[in-house]
């Protein structure tokens, strides 16, 4: 089971690969769209990559609730 820090850094790797986000900018309080400039199509890629990386299913109706990196960490921690 990954720690919150491990999940955050895993998400940072994905965000860098998919959307060119600087890993240093990724923190639990950051909003994907407002702070990290991740558009809706890139968010789809992030979700699919996160499912693979953390062995979790993230249904489409959950994605809209994942506003911040912290939201995603919470979901992955609870469902992985």
């Amino acid at each position: 089971m990954a720690t919150r820090e491990e999940i955050t850094s895993g998400l940072a790797e994905i965000l860098e690969e998919v959307a060119g986000v600087n890993p240093d900018d990724v923190a639990e309080g950051k909003s994907f769209t407002d702070d990290l400039d991740v558009d809706s199509l890139s968010m789809v890629e992030v979700v699919v990559a996160a499912e693979e990386k953390f062995g979790v299913k993230i249904p489409d109706n959950e994605v809209q609730n994942l506003k911040t990196v912290g939201d995603a960490v919470n979901y992955i921690e609870a469902n992985a």
Partner: protein, 408 residues
């Protein structure tokens, strides 16, 4: 003849000979071939294992994350259009975006994206298919991306007429400015289909050269031993501008785009009309549209792709529509056949021939076909005074496009 004069004020290209216009033109004048063996693993199973691959990968110019969202043809279109835009000096001149249009095409479009994403669909399932798939493969993608790049708001037109696409996109740009719908048009075309499926398709038609052991000599228009075209990839872009608009801002003008002719054969979906009747009508129309006569055309950059079926009809056509005097060449002997992008790249070569008073060579014309009764700049570039020149492009579907450029 139109009362509105249109000039060319910017050029851009990324080709098998170079990553920009200057390096491409220099290589052409020196008779260099851009054809090389395909070393990819997938090439081993094909009867055709050579191609004219782009000299500078788009990933060397466009950042990695952006490249993930672009089909290769779109990336190359952006590279060429950005160069042409910078060359024109229009950035920061206060051009009204609602007077700026795009006319940009591709012969085949985002085929590599379609095929790659189909592999992902088959191997990993639909959830793994990229959300960028549709904008990457849609045929208007290159035009739309070029439009975004320059901020065009007078319409983004996507042309598709196979191997006549590039020339027809330029012709549409001329029409848009003449009709008063834009003051400036970014016109051009792109093609990126060096992939086993398109190669297998063309090879099945027996349209491609199989001179795999001698790539640089495989593209040999009008030569008795030609055995088909060599697939090339790349993009070319031209900035077309209303002449008084260009003059008012003191722009450097390469040439006038004086006329265009577009016809269709109504003959066969792929076979060229051996009498080149549609080609003759296109050439005659372009010359008339330019207010010239055949005698004024000193040079023709021919379509000549190096296929046994196609090359000689055009020679008849040029004799009939232009005369027996022009010095002709096929730069495809060096670049291979860029399909939809050919007409844009060859328009650029035609314009630079006028500017520099030199016809780029047709390499590999060692043993000319008996029916070749026109003067070809064979093997070496030929110095020539060129007040006016023509570029021909013909495409599957029976598309014929001729463009006439003159000195400014």
């Amino acid at each position: 003849m139109s009362s509105v004069d249109v000039v060319v004020t910017g050029l851009g290209a990324t080709t098998p000979l170079g990553g920009d216009v200057a390096s491409t033109w220099d290589a052409m004048l020196n008779g260099r071939s851009g054809v090389s063996p395909l070393t990819q693993e997938w090439a081993g199973q094909l009867s055709v294992r050579i191609a004219a691959q782009i000299a500078v990968e788009p990933s060397e110019v466009i950042e990695r994350v952006r490249m993930r969202r672009l089909d290769r043809s779109e990336a190359m279109a952006i590279v060429a259009a950005k160069q042409a835009w910078a060359d024109s000096g229009l950035e920061g001149t206060g051009l009204d975006p609602e007077r700026l249009a795009v006319s940009f095409g591709s012969g085949i479009g985002g085929a590599i994206t379609l095929l790659d994403q189909d592999d992902i669909l088959e191997q990993s399932g639909p959830r793994r298919v990229s959300p960028h798939t549709v904008p990457m493969l849609m045929p208007n993608g290159p035009a739309a991306y070029v439009g975004l790049e320059v901020g065009a708001r007078a319409g983004v037109r996507a042309m598709a007429s196979a191997c006549a696409t590039g020339a027809e996109a330029v012709a549409l740009g001329l029409d848009l400015i003449r009709a008063g719908r834009a003051d400036v048009v970014v016109a051009g075309s792109t093609e990126a289909v060096i992939h086993p499926l398109p190669i297998a398709g063309f090879a099945s038609m027996r349209a491609m050269s199989t001179r795999n052991d001698d790539p640089e000599r495989a593209s040999r228009p009008w030569d008795r031993n030609r055995d088909g075209f060599v697939l090339g990839e790349g993009a070319g872009a031209l900035i077309l501008e209303r002449a008084d608009h260009a003059a008012a801002r003191g722009a450097t003008v390469y040439a006038r785009l004086a006329g265009a002719g577009i016809t269709s054969d109504g003959y066969d979906i792929v076979q060229p009309d051996p009498e080149c009747k549609g080609g003759i009508r296109a050439m005659s129309m372009a010359i008339r549209d330019a207010g010239l006569t055949g005698a004024d055309i000193a040079h023709v950059n021919a379509h000549a792709t190096s296929t046994p079926a196609g090359d000689m009809g055009e020679v008849k056509g040029v004799r009939a529509a232009v005369g027996d005097h022009p010095v002709i060449t096929s730069t495809k002997s060096m670049t291979g056949h860029l399909l939809g992008a050919a007409g844009a790249l060859e328009s650029i070569a035609t314009i630079l021939a006028i500017r520099d008073s030199v016809v780029p060579p047709t390499i590999n014309l060692d043993d000319p076909d008996d029916r070749l009764d026109l003067d070809v700049a064979a093997h070496k570039a030929r110095p020539l005074d060129i007040p006016a020149a023509m570029n021909n492009s013909f495409g599957f579907g029976g598309h014929n496009v001729a463009l006439v450029f003159t000195r400014p």
